[in-house]
């Protein structure tokens, strides 16, 4: 089959049709799993949609998961524009959470909005610092960030367990978690907002961090495409030799890209600590850092793509828990497998049907044009 002339492929084919086809395939395969497990796939889809959209709290849960995926998806995307495969979002988010907590608890004498801003800064600085070490090693010694960041996930996990057990544990409790932050520092939740308008709803973890995620998306878009830094990062990512020729330092940009990436991952800590748990609990990043990789790849590393991808994974997380609740044959791990299938089709097998789809549309458009 002849290769398709890339410049002739309309943007909506490569950016909308192809991901949608991949997603459909993933869902068909997932449906097959559910069928084999002895449940009705059609019923499962209905449950997913009901669980994530059917009632207000369910939808709030969906958006809460979306918030986390936006942060980690953006984190991966920024580093990827500099061709750095930062798979350390998990650890950076964990350490970012530590930053949030330490700032909030130590500056509790300050006015609340200032504490919030400082805590957000704390998340960014701690996350960035955790990404800085692998970045420095990559820039100066060529140690591959894929290796170092995954190591740093383990180090972060061990460090946090150590801190939560031996150093900052709430000694009045048995579990490995800290004391709770003062109540007035907690982020206003969706429930509180609804209450303002006299609507009474039940608890959901959705809070104003969602707005922070939107802000972060705008920030990433602006940084990558509208500023000199983004331009230089992309130049280093696409062609390091050319960057050196143009006087752009790969060293500097690798470090900047990784630190921004780590900072964004750290923001997950804001959602989890200020918005949900109000304390550090062991293992709070819960895999969001890894799923963020799939979100970024599916969203083609662009904030506009990351948002729907994050939303889709939000639906799967929330709808999936609904399914496992109602269908005894479907376990939680089944939905991990479904996520895996989606990652497989939209990440690893992203280009499986791309040539066919693209040439199909290109040929159709040609026929139309010549008719």
């Amino acid at each position: 089959m002849a290769p398709v002339d890339k410049s002739k492929v309309p943007w909506w084919v490569s950016n909308l049709i192809v991901p949608l086809v991949n997603l459909t395939l993933a869902l068909l395969v997932s449906g097959l799993f559910i069928f084999i497990a002895g449940e009705n796939p059609y019923e499962a889809v209905r449950l997913i949609i009901y669980g994530s959209f059917g009632y207000i709290e369910g939808f709030a849960y969906t958006l809460y998961y979306t918030t986390n995926f936006i942060f980690t998806g953006l984190a991966f995307a920024v580093a990827f524009h500099c061709r750095l495969f930062n798979i350390g979002g998990e650890g950076q988010a964990y350490i970012g959470g530590l930053g949030v907590f330490l700032v909030a608890i130590n500056f509790s004498f300050l006015p609340i909005p200032i504490v919030w801003i400082l805590s957000i800064a704390g998340a960014v600085v701690f996350g960035a610092a955790w990404a800085f070490i692998p970045a420095y090693l990559q820039a100066t010694r060529g140690s591959h960030v894929v290796i170092t960041t995954i190591m740093f996930n383990f180090i972060a996990a061990s460090l946090m367990v150590f801190l939560l057990v031996d150093v900052i544990r709430d000694t009045t409790q048995m579990g490995p978690h800290t004391v709770a932050l003062p109540k007035e520092q907690w982020f206003p939740s969706f429930k509180d907002f609804a209450g303002l308008f006299g609507i009474k709803i039940r608890y959901s973890p959705l809070n104003i961090s969602f707005l922070l995620a939107i802000l972060a998306s705008v920030f990433v878009w602006f940084l990558v495409w509208k500023t000199r830094w983004g331009y230089e990062m992309r130049a280093v990512g696409h062609n390091t030799q050319a960057a050196i020729y143009a006087g752009i330092s790969p060293y500097k940009n690798i470090i900047i890209a990784m630190c921004i990436s780590g900072g964004l991952a750290g923001l997950l800590g804001v959602n989890e600590i200020l918005g949900v748990h109000h304390k550090i609990v062991a293992g709070f990043p819960a895999g969001y850092g890894f799923t963020g990789i799939a979100v970024a790849l599916m969203g083609r590393n662009h904030p506009i793509g990351i948002f729907p991808a994050a939303f889709l994974f939000g639906i799967l997380y929330q709808g999936g828990s609904e399914v496992t609740f109602d269908m005894p044959n479907i376990t939680r791990y089944m939905f991990v497998a479904v996520q895996g299938v989606i990652i497989l089709f939209s990440g690893a097998l992203e280009n499986l049907f791309r040539p066919q789809i693209e040439s199909f549309f290109v040929n159709r458009l040609n026929i139309k044009a010549s008719a």
């Binding site: 890339k6 002739k8 830094w229 992309r234 696409h238 006087g247």
Partner: protein, 506 residues
């Protein structure tokens, strides 16, 4: 006795809106070297890819030895005795020559009898055509010229009667070109048919017996090589008459703008590639640096432009020292001081091919006013600037938003040139300005360089095209094995003299 071995009738091929081949008719006679010449993008490679089964034609017929055949894949072509040597070699670098050649044709699970036979056959082929290849050497140890021979041997081993070579000399040194031509001639002697795709007129005149000219997807003429000349072919290629020799005014050299004293530079493997070089370039002159590829020109250019560290020696810009082995300015700082650099390899160094054209048009100047204000890129000014210089330098198509890799080689080169010349540099370092660029663009690029010189810039021109060095330079120095082995005034030097210097003979 002339009998056609390959006949193409009414071949058409379109890619989207681009009609790459329009009603092509071509007859190639057995035992000849047939040249196909045309500018970049004229459709030569597309046509030959159809013959080799890589693309399928939209319409038309292909006959081999009078029999109509259907080519669905390269496998069909190989069966019909058609072999192709691509511009980019298809070899496994860590395999030996033998392993590469039998790849896919092993014929047995455990190597034994078949391998011995293959070895013997290959040795015979090597002897017949004087290929001089050691079958046991690893590809990564071989020079580009030898790798190409391995490709030729591979095609022959698979029974090729017709051998298509796509721009075979683009990557070779002049000596390697001579060797290749010898091999091609001996192939012809043995009755093989060779199709040579090129845009270099001199190769057509040297080697072929028949030539076909393509322009914008059409076949515009066939002729016997002996009945034509370079000027006529060039005119057919571009569709108008071309100035092969440049008109340029008398040199008015001023003060020394750029000088190099006793410069030594090492490469990444710590091998000394530039050895005690002295250079002086004056305002208003072009200093040509001739030499066979790999004699230190690349490292010299990189050191002069601040990309590579200086081992010892000094570089002066307008009389002020800018670099020695202790202190050196980086490329950005040198740019600010008025030094521009058009690198030898545009895709590896001069451009980010995945960037849009406008992003490349400000590359290296992106942090300056008005392109960027307090680190925010000024999109509107960048686009209007891009449109202006794309028009001025006739970059086609004039779409700043198009991804750079979609431009042809010549237009990519114009993007770099317009970017660097637009800053009106005092000193301009130019490496291989017309490598892989079509004739129309070559003329344009040469004229721009002359204009820069007339405006008082000091230009260092590094090129492996002797013609280019001769037609542009006011003074010529020759580099061999990292040293400057000779300096000549352009007025009284012949290409023969330069050739001897380049070969390190004198």
């Amino acid at each position: 006795m002339v009998s056609p071995i390959l006949e193409l009738t009414n071949i058409n091929k379109s890619f989207g809106h681009v009609h790459a081949n329009k009603n092509i008719n071509l007859t190639i006679n057995k035992g000849t070297i047939h040249g196909i010449i045309g500018e970049n993008g004229a459709g030569k490679s597309t046509l030959m890819s159809i013959v080799f089964g890589l693309y399928q034609a939209n319409s038309g017929t292909i006959k081999v030895n009078g029999k109509e055949i259907n080519l669905r894949s390269p496998k069909d072509s190989i069966i019909n005795g058609i072999g192709m040597v691509h511009q980019h070699f298809m070899l496994v670098e860590n395999f030996t020559v033998l392993e590469n050649i039998i790849l896919g044709f092993e014929g047995e699970l455990v190597f034994g009898k078949n391998l011995e036979k293959a070895k013997k056959d290959l040795k015979d082929l090597c002897d017949t055509y004087k290929l001089n290849i050691d079958l046991n050497s690893t590809i990564s140890d071989l020079s580009v010229g030898f790798r190409q021979r391995v490709e030729i041997l591979k095609s022959l081993y698979r029974g090729a009667e017709i051998l298509i070579l796509d721009e075979p000399t683009g990557v070779l040194t002049p000596q390697e070109v001579d060797e290749l031509f010898k091999i091609l001639r001996s192939l012809k002697e043995e009755g093989k048919t060779i199709v040579l795709i090129t845009h270099k007129l001199i190769e057509i005149m040297d080697l072929t017996s028949e030539v076909s000219v393509m322009r914008q997807g059409e076949m515009v003429g066939h002729t016997k090589t002996e009945n034509t000349n370079k000027e006529q072919l060039a005119e057919m290629m571009v569709g108008r008459s071309v100035l092969l020799r440049l008109d340029k005014s008398e040199v008015k050299a001023g003060e020394v703008l750029f000088s190099v004293k006793n410069l030594t530079v090492k490469d990444d493997l710590d091998v000394t590639r530039v050895k005690n070089v002295d250079l002086e370039i004056r305002s208003g002159e072009i200093l040509g640096l001739a030499g066979v590829t790999g004699n230190g020109q690349t490292e010299l250019l990189e050191a002069l432009s601040g990309i590579r560290k200086v081992e010892s020696g000094e570089i002066y810009l307008e009389g002020k020292k800018v670099s020695d082995n202790q202190n050196f300015l980086d490329p950005r700082e040198l740019k600010d001081k008025g030094l521009a650099h058009v690198p030898e390899d545009r895709q590896r160094m001069g451009l980010v091919t995945d960037f849009k054209a406008y992003e490349n048009l400000i590359f290296g100047y992106h942090d300056q006013q008005p392109f960027s204000k307090s680190s925010v890129l000024n999109h509107r000014d960048i686009i209007s600037h891009s449109k202006k210089i794309m028009e001025e330098y006739d970059v086609r198509p004039q779409s700043p938003n198009l991804i750079t890799s979609n431009f042809s080689g010549g237009n990519q080169q114009k993007i770099i040139l317009s970017r660097e010349l637009n800053e009106n540099p005092k000193v301009l370092l130019v490496g291989q300005p017309t490598r892989g660029v079509d004739i129309g663009a070559i003329e344009f690029i040469h004229q721009r360089l002359i204009d820069m010189r007339d405006r008082g810039a000091a230009i260092l021109l590094v090129s492996v095209e002797l013609d280019e060095v001769l037609s542009l330079s006011d003074r010529i120095v020759v580099m061999f094995d990292g040293k400057i082995v000779g300096e000549k005034d352009n007025k009284n030097v012949t290409d023969r003299e330069l050739g001897l210097l380049m070969a390190g003979v004198v």
